[in-house]
Amino acid sequence: MTKLAVANNLFCERDDRILFKDLSLNITQGEIVHIKGPNGAGKTTLLRRLIGLSWVVEGDLSWHESVSESGIRPDGHRFWYLAHRPAVTLMQTPLENLAFAVAMHQADVSEPSLWAALADVGLKGFEDVPAHSLSAGQQRRVALARLYLNLPQIKLWVLDEPFTALDVQAVSQLETTIESFAEQGGTVIMTSHHGLHHTSVRELHIGAAA
């Protein structure tokens, strides 16, 4: 299998505390990398370093050419990044939010597929409701809807705490979606305190040493 990303000697220091050092990371295509660690261990920082949004982590990192032209960070249209702040604009409807996320990826998605993706995350009937009147869990679902679009050019999902605020049923649905994405050759890098049970899940513990 192709090595999607190779990182060596990652080192992160924050407020005079060393979060992690000598961290090496190999990400193979088709696997689910589950980054685990206590609160404040640097999970989000590590994810942001991987996609080129953070400069506080030192070390070498290179991406495979199938996801990155430059090799330094994955190309914008090849991955979805679901962050803590889920990029759901509260003054917009779920449909407008999803359409804008797609437009920023310069992808061509028909209107019915947008509606279908929103129906998949259980927002059927809420497509035109302003996002500020949705519940916290529903707002997360607006952000998750992009994962259900099945864009062929998307090879990588980077998910930061994707299960936050979701109900039990939605959690298991998302687990299934993540697993089937990996089975189709996609790669997932995620942080979560929730355990995932699948053959292709590899756990990576950081920040255990104090």
Binding site: T45, R48, I51, G52, L53, S54, W55, V56, D75, G76, H77, R78, Y81, A83, H84, R85, P86, A87, V88, T89, L90, M91, Q92, E96, A99, F100, A101, A103, M104, H105, Q106
Partner: protein
């Protein structure tokens, strides 16, 4: 790329419409402050004519400063800004669209209101087209240059004051050339030179601001 520009413009303008209360604030400020001048200082028409250009320009500058802080704040807080920087399209395009929309909803309304207020300040009628042209050009460069400051301070919780202090020195040339243009035509002097300078300043800002703004946004967003 064209689709992205369309989408961004559409998004920014609908958002501006839905948050219209925020945008009315600078406009009301502009109208109120300008209309206080004749009441507070003098009703002597000659004196008012003399200072009309300066008053209109100073108020327009302060009014657009008021609205700058909002340019990226909401997008920063909900995480959209990160996604814009990660986008496969050059983020400069998105930023330029945002600046353009900011100008459309602040600079253009200010310009459209200015004829009404210029009557109150006894600005001669023949100076009106030049005043509007200078405001139209000038407010665009205020939005362009202001976006750099807004991008630098978006990560701070209360960046309003810092933004003003940071960006004010760079905005002063716009004010000088804008006021000079209007004063020149009021006094019957040659004004096209001043307007040309303003145009050159705006063109320079147009070329540089998107890049500087993106660089500043990266500083604010990437920790």
């Amino acid at each position: 790329m064209i689709k992205l520009v369309q989408h961004t413009l559409q998004r920014e303008l609908t958002l501006a419409y839905r948050r219209r209360a925020d945008l009315l604030n600078p406009l009301f400020f502009f109208v109120l402050v300008v209309s206080l001048f004749p009441m507070g200082i003098t009703t002597d028409l000659d004196k008012l004519t003399e200072m009309s250009g300066g008053v209109l320009w100073v108020c327009a500058l302060l009014a657009s400063l008021l609205s700058l802080d909002l340019m990226f704040r909401n997008d920063f807080e909900d995480g959209s800004l990160e996604q814009m920087l990660l986008s496969s399209a050059p983020p400069q395009v998105i930023v330029l669209c945002k600046i353009f929309c900011h100008w459309l909803v602040t600079g253009v309304p200010l310009t459209l209101l200015s004829p009404l207020l210029s009557i109150m300040l006894a600005l001669p009628g023949h100076a009106l087209p030049v005043l509007m042209a200078s405001l139209l050009l000038g407010t665009f460069s205020l939005s362009l240059i202001g976006s750099i400051g807004a991008a630098l301070t978006v990560g701070l919780r209360k960046g309003g004051l810092l933004l003003t202090i940071l960006i004010m020195p760079v905005l002063v040339p716009v004010l000088i050339f804008g006021t000079s243009t209007v004063q020149a035509i009021v006094l019957g002097l040659a004004w096209p030179g001043y307007l040309a300078f303003l145009g050159a300043f705006t063109a320079g800002a147009f070329a540089l601001a998107p890049w500087l703004t993106v660089a500043a946004l990266k500083v604010s967003v990437c920790d």
